[in-house]
Amino acid sequence: MSAVIENHHDDHHHGPAKGITRWLYTTNHKDIGTLYLWFSFAMFLIGGAMAMIIRAELFQPGMQIVEPEFYNQMITLHGLIMIFGGVMPAFVGLANWLVPMQIGAPDMALPRMNNLSFWILPFAFFILLSSLFMEGGAPNFGWTFYAPLSTTYAPPSVTFFIFSVHIMGASSIMGSINVVVTIMNMRAPGVTLMKMPLFVWSWLITAYLLIAVMPVLAGAVTMMLMDIHFGTSFFNAAGGGDPVLFQHIFWFFGHPEVYIMILPAFGIVSHIIETFSRKQLFGYSSMVWAMLSIAILSFVVWAHHMFTVGLPLAAEIFFMWATMLIAVPTGVKVFNWVATMFRGSITFETPMLFAISFVVLFTIGGLSGLMLAIVPADFQYHDTYFVVAHFHYVLVPGAIFSIMAAVYYWIPKWTGNMYDERLGKLHFWLSFIGVNVAFFPQHFIGLAGMPRRYPDYALQFADWNMVSSVGAFLFGFSQLLFLFIVLKTVMGGKKATAQVWEGAKGLEWSVESPAPYHTFTTPPELDWTPSKAD
């Protein structure tokens, strides 16, 4: 090991190591970012395949393709894989690639721990997916794993599920500590907090949320483990516990988790809209304060997921108003994005198309969230397809569109090649149409009373379910085009300039494309005015 120490001064400017060990032993933030992004893409396709099975089963009423028991496993794994394997690692991958470049740092603050955070994930998801082949099948209690479904009535594989959540959580906590420490300690001289790019701000806040709530999730699954195997009664009223306690603990994690999956998207979209409007971002500091407000409020709204479980009236009223309050900072952000585009010289490259549709469709998802926040209305909507439509609107054309926008926006910087604009636009339009055809009708069938998580449904829901399935297939298969575009760009293409986009501002655009393996070996000079109005 001492060889590492002695060699260290010579290998400052070397390129990546050769062969597979480059990826296994790497300490480079760009390599690790790439690993995270490919891993999340793989999970996105696996979770997407499960969604295809779900929508195929729901194409017509009656049981067609799968057993109800397997259907339950599909909805559970689809949710868990998309959240913990798809969206979160994708954002961590983007943070790895971009945060050090955007603040003028050489790398993440703790590069070896960074690699550990990544390599835990493939093992964790191997365990989770292997539960499909265990006796009794995979977890089948929904991604929210409510007790007693996940305790008294759970299949034996729940133990493996619990431990895989534990190590996923460890990975998230270490990854977030790394991001926070990098942002607090590694900024180049002159990059003050209020001059940081918004993506960096969004990740600082996200990482803080993650460090605060992932341990709470660990606590929840630990109590489950004890209840199942060691005779405790946290979630069993017969012993003095309460199954509703599970829901409180879970959603104390779960609601901030929702914002963990959308705050980095806010950062990404702010950059893209600013660039393609060729203007300064409108209201930089209000954007920062809005994200901080959303993050703080996210800790006091968890019970709006539990309105129908039988909360005291005072709790329902408090959580209703606190939830509606979140619409204020979110509205600030939406108005700021619109004001940024106002009178801009807008061009509609693929990232901009995804970003604009993010603003529109995320707002639709936000407004249906506002409807769900109203207690008496929620009594009707709760656990129907209206909820499914709501959270898919904020997660698919919200979080996932922002990730796709980010990939198109920064891939020239990552690979040095431009993507194929024509194919990119095709991918956007197929996805945009697919996502709306898939999820908009779910509002209707939800309001008409179709409950979620059932493999079969009454005949009156048949038409819109078929439409929804067609949209889902269109969206799902369009993502193979995305895979093709990304591979094509990695292989080659028109060479990108350093700035790539005419209106792009920020330190990452000051280095050549592709970005050198080690971006900054000395602190860079800050020669750009960040997103504040002059």
């Binding site: 060699n7 790398d107 365990i127 709470v216 405790t232 104390f252």
Partner: protein
């Protein structure tokens, strides 16, 4: 900011070894727990090998970090990163305990009274006569199902009154742990003033007190299981009591182990300078954190 060039460590095998160790550990743990009733199961060896690999990887990883530090490769900026990293790690630990304290507060103030028919929710439970005869007390000795599915305890670990205070182990545990926070603080002062002997002795005393605490805690658990009939199976009081004190005890062991390592580094290898000793400082932060958790436990689990 040093202004010089940045430090980026070379490639390292430790992270992936550690991830693999964790994989072995959790696979072993899951299959062991799932096969508790099966004496022929060999899963526990996977668990042991996971623990073994984890310890070895951590040993070599920390050794590497210490070597790099002694070789003068750590910039001030990197040292600052360790400081921030440890602070945020402790914050995550605070939130882990918050989940269990939250559960305790929830059952004490809401769930148990409701089960006994208090409040607007409780009226509903009482109306369907779900848990007849259950009374809301804390500690809950008789469970709502009157011990049908649980083994009821005879006695709780709560404050026994002033007459028996001196024979009450948690009081002694509090005294031991609070003293250890004082000794580790003065050990730190000794190190800062360049008094190596004072540092070694006081740190040794701290580790010794940690051992005493763990010993007393073990005695208390023995007492609970053997004489009070209080087990994990005794309903919600036993559940919260053992999980909160158990996780705290586990953290005491980890903190004591860290301080023990620091002691060994100081005595046998002469590590730490009066101005440069974050390894020790991080362990002492952790120790103070464990102490604060105990004070909360003493108040909310034992006294109130």
């Amino acid at each position: 900011m040093s202004g010089g060039s940045y430090y980026v460590p070379d490639q390292s095998r430790f992270p992936i070894f550690m991830a693999f160790s964790l994989f072995l550990l959790v696979m072993g743990a899951s299959s062991t727990i799932n096969n508790l009733d099966d004496p022929t199961s060999n899963s526990v060896y996977i668990l042991y090998s996971g623990f073994g690999c984890l310890f070895l990887t951590m040993f070599f990883w920390f050794r590497q970090v210490i070597k790099e530090h002694l070789a003068g490769m750590d910039s001030n900026q990197l040292k600052q990163s360790y400081v921030y990293g440890m602070a945020w790690f402790i914050f995550s630990e605070v939130m882990f305990f918050a989940a269990f304290f939250g559960a305790l507060f929830y059952v004490r103030t809401l769930a148990v009274p409701w089960l006994a028919g208090e409040g607007e929710k409780g009226i509903g439970i009482a109306a369907i006569e779900l848990w007849q005869g259950f009374e809301s007390t804390w500690p809950v000795i008789t469970t709502p199902d009157q011990g049908e599915g649980y083994v009821l305890a005879e006695k709780s670990m709560a404050w026994p009154g002033w007459d028996h205070a001196l024979k009450w182990l948690p009081l002694w545990n509090t005294i031991v742990l609070l003293s250890s926070s004082v000794t580790v603080h003065f050990a730190h002062l000794g190190l800062k003033n360049g008094d190596r002997k004072k540092f070694n002795i006081l740190l040794g005393v701290t580790v010794f007190l940690a051992l005493i605490f763990v010993g007393l805690q073990a005695a208390e658990y023995y007492e609970a299981y053997a004489h009070y009939g209080l087990t994990l199976n005794s309903g919600i009081y036993g559940s919260t009591f053992f999980m909160l004190t158990g996780f705290h005890g586990f953290h005491v062991m980890m903190g004591g182990f860290m301080l023990g390592i620091m002691l060994a580094r100081s005595v046998f290898a002469g590590h730490f300078e009066d101005h440069d000793h974050f390894g020790f400082e991080a362990a002492s932060w952790y120790w103070h954190f464990v102490d604060v958790v105990w004070v909360m436990l003493f108040l909310f689990v034992y006294i109130l």
